[in-house]
Symmetry: C2
Subunit: 389 residues, 2 copies
C-alpha cells in the first residue's frame, strides 16, 4: 500500500460579511486529496481534507514543503507495522521533518489540511466512520463515541447597511433549524450600538434558547473589560475571544471582570500555545470553554495530545467546543466526548455544515455511519472533490 | 511616487550541516524586490529584502496574499503625507489587511521579507544608510546610531563523520577573522559526547575569547536542566534555546538550575509572543539575552514596537542580540543601540555576512555609509538581486 499522489486546489469562499477583525471577501480554502494505490470498486481509495474558515488556503506551504516530503518519503515509513495500513501519525511525522519548533501559524493550517485527509483515508481503509476509528486510535478517544453532538449556530456577522430586523430574523432562522444556542459578532461598532443589537436578539429568542457573543480578538484589555461589565447584566451563553488570542495577561483581566463563561482558542494554533493559554490565561477549567480547531492547528494528531496535556491541567473534555463547523471537527467531538461543535448554517458552504439528511434536533446532531469523514455524503462538496480525482 | 511591481524568487541555500533539530539540505530563501516609478541614473529605485536562515522561503504567502494586497492598494495609502515618500509602516499595514490575530509563523516570515525591502527602499529614497534612517523613524532608535556593533561567530554545526579537530579548527578560524566570541551547536549527540566537544573548543580558545552553546530548542525540561548542571562547571558565554521556544514553563525550570546567562528568542515570531516570553519565561532582564529576529517576525515595524514593549518590562536595549547574521539585522542593532548581532562567517552565503570590505576587529564590525541596507555593497549578492531587476 502506498500514496501515489497528493493533489490540492484552492477554492474561494467569497462572502460579503465581516467580523470585528476581517472581511471574508477574499477568503479561500485548500482542498487536498491523498490518492492511494488501493483500488475498490474500480476506483482508488482517496482521503480528502480542507482547512476551516478564518485562515487562508495554503497552496504555498503544501506545494513547497509538505507534499514533497511525503512523496519523497520511503513508502514503508508511512505504514503502520501492525495494521499494514497508511497511518495518520506517521504521515504527520513525515510532513514535519526539518521544521523548526515554534512559529505556529500557516504551517499549522497546512498540516491540519493534510491530517484531515490522512484520517479520512485511514478510516476508509478499514471501512469505519472516522469518529469510531479516531476513538479507537487516539489517547483521548472514548470507548463509545457520542451518538449525537451538541451544536450551536454561529452567525450574526456584520453586513453593510444591515437592518436590526435582518439580524433577529437570521437568529430566529437558526432556532427554526433546531439550534438552541446562537452566536453573533460584537466589536465592529461602538459598545452602545452592540448592546442594542444584543438586546434585540435576546428579546426575540424563545425561552430555553441562549445567545453567545464573539469579539474575534479585537478588544484592548480596557475595552474588553468595559464590554464584560455591560455583558454581566445580560444572560449571555458565553463571551468569546475578547482580546488578542495570545494576550494571556489581558484575558486574565477580563476573567476577573466577567461573571459569565469565557470562550477562546480558535486562533491558538498548536498544543504548546494551548498549554500556555491554560497556564497563563486565567481561564476557569470548571466553567470556561476552549475552542481550538484541529483543522487549523496541525490536525487531530496534535489535538489528541493537546486534549491529554490540558486534561492533566484540569480541563475536562466537556469544556472543549471546537471552532470550525464541519464534519471532521464534529467527528472529533464525537470520538473524544467533547462538549460540542460550532456550526455555521448556510455560510462557509460547502465546507461548513454537516452530512446531508442529518438535521439538528433540540440542539443536537448525529453523525453518518459511512466509512471516512463522510464528505461524500454532502452533495454540495461532490463537484469540488471530483476535481481532485 | 508609487510601487510599479513586487517580484520575488526562491533561492536554495543547500548545505550538508545540521543542528539539533533540522538539517539544512533543503533550506531556501525568498528574495523580494519592490520596484518603484522613481528613476535615478536611468534606473528605477528598488528595495530588496529576504528572510533569515532557519525558516523557509515564502513563495506561497507572498504571491497568494501579501503582494496582491499591495498592488491592489490605493497607491496614495502607502505614501507618508509629510514626506511624500513610500512609508514602510503604511506598506506593513496594507500587507496585513484581513489577517486574523494570532498564528505567528510563516506569515511573520513573509511580512518580514517585505518589511526589509520597504526599509531598504525608503532609506534609498532619502539617500541615507538604513541604520540612520531607522534611528530617526522609529520609537526605539537612538539619537546617534552605533558606529560599530559587537558580533559573534555562530557555527559549530554537526556534520556527518566530523572529527573533533575540524570543529576546533573552525572555531579558531573565527578568532582569526577577528571574532572574540564563538558559538557551537549542542544537543544532537548525548550530553557526555557534547561535553567532550565543548571542552575541546574551550581548550583551544585564546584568553579573552568565549564560547556560547546552542541547543536549538531540542531539550525536554529534564534534559535541559541536566545540561545546565553540567554547563554550570564551565565558563560558557551563554546557553541558548535549551527548550521549545514557546515552552515558558520549562524555560523557567532551566533558569532556576542554570547559573550563567540564558539566551533565546529566534523562534519567537511576534511582539505578543515576545511579551509572553518576558512575562512567563522567568528570564532575567538584567542578565539574559533575547534574540528575536525582525527578518523572521514581521520585520522592523513590529520589532520596533517589541523593543518598546519589552523596555517597559525592564529589558534594556543591551540585552537584545538578534539572530540572523545579515546586514539588515546589523543595521537594526546600530539604529537602536542593541547589544550585538549574530554572524555566520562563510555559511548561509550570500545572504549571511556583512558588506564587502568591512572586517571584524576585536569582536566589532562597522556599517557601510551607503544609501539603503547596502546589499549592493556585497558582490556575491549582485547576481541574485540582478535577477529581480
Amino acid at each position: 500500500m502506498r500514496i501515489v499522489d497528493i493533489r490540492h486546489i484552492t477554492v474561494p469562499i467569497k462572502s460579503d460579511m465581516a467580523n470585528a477583525f476581517i472581511n471574508f471577501s477574499k477568503m479561500d480554502v485548500s482542498v487536498l486529496a491523498i490518492v492511494t494505490d488501493v483500488i475498490r470498486d474500480g476506483k482508488p481509495v482517496i482521503g480528502y481534507g480542507f482547512n476551516s474558515n478564518g485562515r487562508y488556503a495554503q497552496p504555498g506551504i503544501l506545494s513547497h514543503r509538505i507534499i514533497p516530503r511525503l512523496l519523497e518519503a520511503n513508502p514503508d515509513s508511512l505504514i503502520n507495522e501492525k495494521t499494514g495500513n497508511l497511518d495518520p501519525k506517521l504521515i504527520w511525522q513525515s510532513a514535519m521533518i526539518n521544521e523548526k519548533p515554534g512559529g505556529h501559524g500557516d504551517r499549522a493550517v497546512a498540516v491540519g489540511i493534510l491530517d484531515m485527509a490522512a484520517w479520512d483515508l485511514a478510516s476508509k481503509l478499514v471501512e469505519k466512520p472516522v469518529h469510531k476509528f479516531m476513538a479507537e486510535e487516539s489517547k483521548s478517544g472514548i470507548k463509545t463515541p457520542l451518538e449525537k453532538v451538541w451544536v450551536y449556530a454561529a452567525g450574526g456577522y456584520y453586513y453593510k447597511n444591515q437592518a436590526l430586523s435582518s439580524l433577529t430574523s437570521e437568529m430566529l432562522g437558526y432556532i427554526d433549524l433546531g439550534y438552541r444556542t446562537v452566536k453573533m459578532k460584537i466589536g465592529a461598532v461602538p459598545l452602545a450600538e452592540d448592546l442594542v443589537r444584543i438586546e434585540a436578539v435576546l428579546n426575540v429568542l424563545p425561552s430555553g434558547c441562549t445567545l453567545a457573543v464573539d469579539a474575534n480578538g479585537r478588544f484592548s484589555a480596557q475595552l474588553a473589560v468595559e464590554y464584560a461589565q455591560a455583558l454581566n447584566k445580560l444572560p449571555i451563553h458565553w463571551y468569546e475571544e475578547p482580546t488578542d488570542p495570545l494576550d494571556f495577561q489581558s484575558l486574565g483581566k477580563v476573567r476577573s471582570a466577567y461573571e459569565g463563561v469565557l470562550a477562546t482558542g480558535e486562533n491558538i494554533m498548536s498544543g504548546q500555545d494551548a498549554k500556555n493559554l491554560a497556564l497563563y490565561g486565567g481561564m476557569d477549567p470548571e466553567k470556561d470553554v476552549l475552542q481550538m480547531d484541529a483543522a487549523l492547528s496541525y490536525g487531530f494528531v496534535e489535538y489528541d495530545q493537546t486534549l491529554k496535556t490540558l486534561g492533566d491541567l484540569g480541563w475536562k473534555s466537556s469544556r472543549f467546543v471546537p471552532h470550525g463547523g464541519h464534519q471532521f471537527n464534529l467527528a472529533i467531538v464525537a470520538a473524544c466526548g467533547l462538549g460540542g461543535c460550532e456550526s455555521y448554517p448556510g455560510i462557509f458552504e460547502p465546507f461548513g455544515g454537516f452530512a446531508d439528511g442529518y438535521k439538528v434536533e433540540n440542539g443536537y446532531i448525529s453523525l453518518p455511519e459511512v466509512p471516512g469523514i463522510g464528505l461524500e455524503s454532502k452533495a454540495s462538496l461532490a463537484p469540488i472533490l471530483n476535481q481532485l480525482q
